[in-house]
Symmetry: C2
Subunit: 415 residues, 2 copies
């Protein structure tokens, strides 16, 4: 079963926002065996919307449309749907009363006329209640193809997908199973890996595909398959994945599933009743931000210091100034002292410290831009590694963050 | 002049990655007057790629294709281009020598056979040198339409766009000017704003369009126009923007341009030789991460403490434990004490402090999930505000971060 996504809104096409909605919808559809054939992003422009709806209809069974449902004049999705479905807008009593309720609960006032217009919906549409906003979702059918219209606000869209769209799709469509398993590797490039596993790749059964997903400092290897027999499908993919893992034991760090490396660290530390703190200089809070993005971080994360200015490494963290004088602030000795001091200050089992030159200028350092020292303090030791992460600031920070998590995970797994 | 973007790769359609490339390309094209008509994301599947190329060709003057150029078997863009352009792959000596150079410089070894295949390119293609990777960009033309193929790795793609694609597009195509100006507002909803500026919107000249871009806690209002006369165009948009600003002085916080609120704060502080530090509890490093993402942060940012655990607010920041005892850890008093203490500890002019319940559980707090106190310490005073940011952790953190920047900017502009 195939689906397409159409996102409507100028802001995507002028690059003012990144379309994160589509990735979310793709992931959720995939989980229930619906393959996304195409994503199309277009403007709030009637003729283009009409053509895109017709084109999608000719290719797939399900068309999910986001955006263009705001209360303002630039939003025309509903009117365009009426033209496509040869329909008219009618006031929906249920939506109207929902709008009044939302305004009295959250804003403590009457809705404006523009808000009430959100209750005007195509007469043929089944309404999908949007508990988090005034624009309802709409479900329409034409010649056996289902069209769903949802607001583009990510939070509202996600709730509609979870509570309304997925349950209806599961009920209405007969779907195969789709199964992916992704191996996470660190340390070798895409082509070197491809070379090493060439025989494996050539011997893969036709119904299992392998994809390489390289990104900063890591390569993910994904095996995918689709079929009617869920168990047989999973068995086949898992057994190929076991073979692949055996070929890559030196660089494989685990399976990706739904778990990021920082979540995995969190689960391990919570299970072991151990704790973590940070002393982030060149990463400037990026490691802390990733850790605290997950609920439950307070179960193991005690906090951190961002001693961005050199002097603060002395006054707040308590690093010996003679060490900085002797080795410079971007050095293995200072990184290790930072980790050590942070571990003491926060009274934790593990600490990560970073010091380096994110660039583009050198700051208080004498090394090259992109040089980063990462130190890990564990219950029994402290050690550090030196890296050269290139000259692009954003990449230096992201690579250092990924590498710090990788080093910490390896250290935790050793203990 | 119209363009389309086609992104090729399963990883987007199964939701494994978010397509950030398209937003980047759209933004850059827009700056030089090229309007993006459609973005299409499809799989590494020959027939679908061929159809998408043909469809784009019928609609626009320039088609930018990213992805599918890796050295591994799942990448088929080059072969598909050969079919579309009725062409064959030939070895390009320049690309070949570039690959050898890259490997000797960065990996200190000979390239693998798979790497060398990157030098095989369609014979009709003009090669766009990729200084940051082995897959070259390719520029091809058919019936007056230009097709450009680029690798999907963001860093490589961005360099190709900047150094090769944009200069060639500017040279080859006659383009109008496109001008946007975006007003940033905080504090009122989309429909309330629309209601207030209804007369203004109705009186807008036909060639200027207004878009509402709502997101967590803020609404951006964008005026756009397109034309041949750059100066007249800018004058027309700017004068309408002045009118709009006058209608919204109580909620307008400035123009967006290319500058984010954190960059604007940075510029102001650097110009005034003033400094900033942070004490982030519930935002867990998210504010620091946004600040340090920009080069030059070290010019005004002295650092921060993330006292994630309640006790660390006492031991590291030096907040009076009696204050926490009396008012609880999530309170105006504790937020203000955190800001005050951080300001002393880091010896800065300004400090931001956050304490709250990002959720989904209460932690050491007795208030509701989503409750956040944000305090700002300035050279002369400290004050705080209480917010309720709802129950979704990610949104609580983002809203608190945005609000903290907003409060700080207002405070700086007062002084």
């Amino acid at each position: 079963m195939l689906a397409e996504i159409i996102t409507i809104g100028d802001e995507i096409l002028i690059g003012q926002i990144v379309d994160t909605n589509s990735a979310y919808i793709c992931k959720e559809l995939n989980k229930i065996g619906v393959q996304v054939h195409q994503i199309t992003s277009i403007q709030d422009e009637k003729e283009h919307i009409l053509k895109s709806l017709a084109a999608a209809k000719s290719r797939v069974d399900l068309v999910l449309v986001t955006g263009g449902l705001g209360p303002t004049k630039d939003d025309i999705t509903k009117e365009t749907f009426c033209e496509f479905f040869d329909d008219v807008l009618v006031e929906n009593a249920e939506v109207l009363s929902h709008i009044y309720q939302l305004f009295s609960k959250y804003f403590n006032r009457e809705p404006l006329p523009a808000n009430l217009l959100q209750a005007m919906v195509p007469s043929k549409a089944t309404i999908l209640t949007n508990h988090h906003g005034t624009a309802p979702g709409m479900w329409l059918e034409q010649d056996g193809v289902v069209f769903v219209s949802m607001p583009g606000v990510p939070y509202e869209m996600k709730h509609l997908v979870q509570n309304e769209v997925l349950p209806r799709v599961i009920k209405q469509f007969n779907r195969p199973f789709i199964y992916h398993k992704t191996l996470l590797t660190y340390g070798l490039g895409e082509s070197t890996i491809a070379n090493r596993i060439e025989d494996f790749e050539n011997a893969l059964p036709k119904n299992i595909s392998l994809a390489y997903l390289p990104s900063l400092g890591k390569v993910r290897l994904r095996l995918s398959s689709k079929g009617r027999e869920e168990l047989a499908l999973k068995d086949a993919v898992n057994s190929q994945m076991d073979k692949l893992y055996q070929l890559l034991t030196d660089i494989a760090i685990g399976y990706e599933d739904e778990t990021s490396i920082e979540e995995r660290i969190g689960h391990l530390l919570v299970a072991r009743l151990q704790t973590l703190c940070l002393a982030e200089s060149c990463t400037g809070g990026a490691i802390a931000e990733r850790i605290t993005a997950y609920p439950g971080a307070s179960g193991y994360f005690r906090g951190g210091v961002i001693p961005y200015e050199t002097q603060k490494k002395v006054t707040i963290l308590g690093v010996d100034p003679a060490l900085i004088e002797k080795h410079t602030v971007v050095s293995a000795q200072v990184a290790e002292a930072m980790a050590d001091q942070a571990k003491k200050l926060f009274d934790t089992d593990y600490a990560i410290a970073t010091t380096g030159i994110a660039g583009p200028t050198l700051g208080d350092a004498i090394d090259e831009v992109g040089t980063v020292y990462i130190a890990i303090a564990s219950p029994t030791a402290v050690y550090s590694e030196k890296f050269s992460f290139g000259s692009a600031r954003e990449r230096v920070i992201t690579k250092a963050t990924n590498k710090a998590f990788e080093m910490l995970l390896k250290e935790i797994l050793k203990n």
